[in-house]
Every structure is written in C-alpha cells, then in structure tokens.
Symmetry: C2
DNA sequence: GTCTATACGCGGATAGAC
DNA sequence: GTCTATCCGCGTATAGAC
C-alpha cells in the first residue's frame, strides 16, 4: 500500500516493497551470504547501495526488517513453482518438476542458499515468522507427496540438505552449472525412489 | 609447550591446549552453534565459563584464535576414525566404517555440525588455515576412495551435505538418535553405490 | 590464571534539514 | 528518499594489580 512508484516483488507474505526497498534487500542478501547476517552491518548495506545508513533506516524500521525482506524476496522466487506443484498435486510428475525447479534455483543462486538454510538469524526467523513457516510447510508437503512416515521425511530432509549444501561444496567448486544441475537432479530422483 | 597442568586434546594441528583453554573453546563452540561466530561476543564466552573477558584474552590472543581452537578440538574428534580408514585403505569396508563414524559424530554433535560446515567465518578459516585444509582433504580423499571423477565428487559432496544438514532439519526434529543414525547410514551407503 | 579498569571504534538507531 | 549529525551501548582489545 505505501509505495509511490514501481513497487514490484513476488513476496511470500502479502507485503509489497518500493524500488528502494528492493535494492536494499537484494544488496543485503548478497552481503548476508558472504558475511552472515550478524557479520553484516547496516553501514555495509548502505555502502553497497551507495546511500547512507539513515536512508536504509527510512526504508526499514530495523535491521531485522531488512533480513525479513531479503528472505521474503528470495523465497518468493520459488512461489510459482510451488503453486504449480500444488495445482498438479494428482500428477505423479508434479514432484519431479518441483524438485527440478528447486535444484535450478539452488544452482543458480548458489551463494544465497547456504545462508537461507543455515544462518542462525535466518533459521530463527524461518521458525518464528508465520508466513515463512507456512511457506516452508507447503514446500515440504509438496516434496513429500503422499508419504509422511519417518523414513520419507528423512529422505526429503537429506535431499533438501544435499541440494543446498552441494552447490557450495569445495569438492564441486570447479563444476559448471549445467553439469551440476544434471547430475543433481538425476541423483536426487533416484535417491528418492530407492526402495524401502 | 606452554601448559602447567593437565593439557589434553587431540587437535588437528600439533597445538596443545591448557585445561582453561579447552573449557573456553568448548563453551565457545556451543555459543557459535547457537548464535554464529559473528553473533557471539567474548563477553558471552566469558560469562559461559564464569570468568571475565580479560581471562579469555589471557588464554587466547584474539577472538579468531578462540575460533581456531574450537574448530581444532571439534575436528580432532574425527581424527582417530580417519587414521584408521587411511591405515585400512585397501579394505573395501574401510570407507563404510569411516562413513559410519562420521554419521555417529554428526548425529551425536547435531548442534555443532551446521556451524562447522556453513558459518562464514569458519568456512573462511577452513579454506585458509593450512592444518584444517589438509585435514579436510584427507577426509574427502578417504571418502572418495579410488574414484576422483566429477560424478563421484558430486556424490560425496551430496552425502556430506546431506548428513550435515539432516541432523538439524525441521522435518526430522522429532526423531531419536538411534533411528536417525540407522536410516542415515543405510541410505548414504545405498546412495553412494548407485550405478552410474 | 584471574581480576578491575579503561581505551576506542563501530554497532544499531533517531532527529531534523533538504 | 536521502542527507548530516548525534546518541548510546557493546564490540575487541590492552594495562597492570593480585
């Protein structure tokens, strides 16, 4: 409701962001990925966008609000794929398609993924902020499909962790995106369909 | 060479730590796991061990030195298993045994693993501090075995990430250690021996 | 090995002009 | 929306006594 001009974003919550807010959140996420949330100061964020701290504080009330926006925008990238998967819930290929999109996202945004999954501040946010909580629950439900037993949950958790971790792993540092994407999708699908 | 009394530890480097240093490093790692390295102050570490900041600064020159010690002590827990695996390099079961030990460690020390693998400060340390670099190389080489091609490296990286990530994953938050351990080992082994 | 005391800069955050 | 200026607390780190 607030913004004066462009005001885009496909956020997880219903919030909309001004162009300036979007620039800030994007730059912030990049810095969070490199230094962690706690290791990133508002001064660093301000410098990265070429404004002063006070300008950032005009866009967001607190540093925490910046973090929320950054996570919101990044998670929003998965929303279309998740919507599609839920719409095609009956189709047995729906899960594979969703997994493919998640892998594409993880490979393409390598540097961000580790932060989103493991930074202590973001982890806390993900478990406390309701829109994020609900989004993650939707995502995991779609990936689980019909099975909800312990073994299935371990598998999905392993695949999610493997995808998130492998893209920045030193062992595959030299690999190009295409090769990584291919192997990752094939191996993930075969892993998930391993017999009990 | 410095310590006056107990002086234990099985560190990755050749350093030895005094009893006070060990207490500090252990408490520090616990705090790093909860708040991240950057989110943990020397005051928090001092409070956790019941001494003052100045006492901590007597034990370690800088905060970075505390981080090194904490990582050193934690990685040292894997050293015996790695030594054994290297000694039995011919034995085809050596890798499975090592993987089992790694999984045991990851499950038993759940809270620490994510930090060791993903905290930006520790990641930087792991890639810059030579003893750590060499230790990680030994570990990955032992897990890879004879194969060193891209596909094999992706698999090992996926398993390592999966193990590290799953133990703190919300989807398996309710599971007890024993169940997690069993499924994790069986699934990891089957994943690694999937045909090309 | 631990303490009290202190230096100094940077962190988050606000006020008010343009 | 952005700026300059400022507040205050906490961060890392040091000096010197016990």
């Amino acid at each position: 409701m607030p913004p004066t001009s462009p005001a885009t974003a496909s956020p997880v919550g219903s919030t909309t962001y001004s162009a300036a807010q979007l620039r800030t959140a994007t730059a912030a996420l990049e810095l969070f990925a490199r230094h962690g949330v706690s290791g990133t100061s508002l001064q660093m964020i301000a410098d990265a966008t070429g404004v002063t701290k006070a300008a950032v504080y005009h866009q967001f009330k607190t540093k925490e609000a910046v973090v929320v926006a950054a996570v919101d925008v990044e998670l929003g990238r998965l929303e279309p794929a998740l919507d599609a998967a839920e719409a095609a819930a009956g189709d047995p290929d729906a899960r594979s398609a969703l997994l493919g999109e998640v892998i594409d996202h993880a490979v393409g945004r390598r540097r961000m993924v580790g932060t989103l999954q493991h930074d202590p501040v973001i982890v806390r946010l993900l478990s406390e902020h309701e829109p994020f909580q609900q989004f993650m629950e939707r995502l995991f439900r779609a990936l689980l499909g019909d099975r909800i037993d312990a073994t299935a949950r371990i598998r999905v958790a392993m695949v999610a962790s493997a995808i998130g971790g492998v893209v920045t792993h030193p062992l595959v540092a030299g690999l190009d995106d295409a090769a990584l994407r291919g192997d990752l999708l094939s191996l993930s699908l075969r892993f998930l369909s391993l017999p009990d």
